[in-house]
Amino acid sequence: MQLIACPWCGPREETEFSYGGQAHVPYPEHPASLTDEQWAHFVFFRDNPKGPFAERWAHASGCRRWFTAVRDTRTHKFLEEVPR
């Protein structure tokens, strides 16, 4: 039951947010030019580190803005929250 600091609304209860998984995974420039394996990695493969992890979160029940957060997956603690 953490307080998550929405870059816009400020600290809010965890229950107001939705999780978007690993951040900074860009949609490929030319999907057609990718091998099946390269495409599979974009679609299905995400990092799963034990430690700090850059993630995307949305303040779903608030301003509905997406932002990027760095969170330690060992403690679940948020280390940094920044707009997009």
């Binding site: 599979a40 997956t73 403690t75």
Partner: protein, 412 residues
Amino acid sequence: MTTAPIPPGAHLPEHPDHLWDDAEPKKVYDVVVVGGGGHGLATAHYLAKNHGITNVAVLEKGWLAGGNMARNTTLIRSNYLWDESAGIYEHALKLWEGLEDDLGYPILFSQRGVLNLAHTEQDVRDSVRRVEANKLNGIDAEWLGPDEVAKVCPIVNVSADIRYPVQGATFQPRAGIAKHDYVAWGFARRASEAGIDIIQNCEVTGFVTDADRVTGVRTTRGTIAAGTVALCAAGHTSVLLDMLGVRAPLQSHPLQALVSELLEPVHPTIVMSNAVHVYVSQAHKGELVMGAGVDSYNGYGQRGAFHIIERQMAAAVELFPVFARAHLLRSWAGVVDVTPDASPIVGATPYENVFLNCGWGTGGFKATPGLGWAFADTVAHGRPHPLVAPFGLDRFVTGALVDEHGAAAVAH
């Protein structure tokens, strides 16, 4: 001295006087199993029993079977939708049915049946679809209407005046529960008897590689040479794969569970409901054992958010009004490794002598003997056993997923 009636289930079976020896790591093993949980121990047992391979080490970073094995809610069932899933889980269930004899250990395996409740028209369609598929796969399954659900489990509220009325349920009579610790100890005892080294407090810190082979395992207790490496690290698999530079589509999430205090028997079976995310059975001593869906975000912390448990309690009281004044006694969390199609990943890796077993999500416990059997065979012969062949890492490239979300994304 009064001799009042002893409550049913109060007696737990006497344990054997000896379980396993705490081994010191040797320099070299034919097989090194990384992870001393249910899967690792079962794999070791069947390596010895089915393949005569006993120069084996089981490495556990903490205390034996102290991960998800110690934290799960012990549901055993095989009523999965797809042939591939039904195959491995039904093989496991058949092994469960003979496991007490195989292990010579009272694992309190109790086949009391599982109800998967349907609350919407679509739940009903998906349930019938799964039941019909189970039947054709030779798995016991039936579809029950609300009245029949009430006969199997009288405490379920099947009245129409709840928020999401029960439309019916699938029922697998052979499903059941077992005592998780005893299962692990039983496998460990057999493995230890067979001469397999069980090594606790031994964390893997890296691998020694030679081209496409892993020649050794670096641990907090020294480097151990290995002929073959079998990874059974569940939620921590990604950590190991990162050391090997191998990627797998795994995300580790907290999965919470809880128990009530000891109660007189009220709940004869096991009830699961996806729609409202609750899972309940009553264990041997009388405690209600409950689980919910996984927490939404990645976490290795073995702790979840309490609002998940509150939501679960609300669902439980909705479905089981008599639970209102039962008490939450203890809650905890495990770390489950989840895949994109809610099916496990078992089989080969880019390293020819390293085999992978992970991604079981909430299904790991029920698969324990089946996976151990098939994974031991995979390790022994250096190729995937037919039962696990459909679960290779390559399916994410070809698109041949085994998607258990759609119709059977049932936690636990």
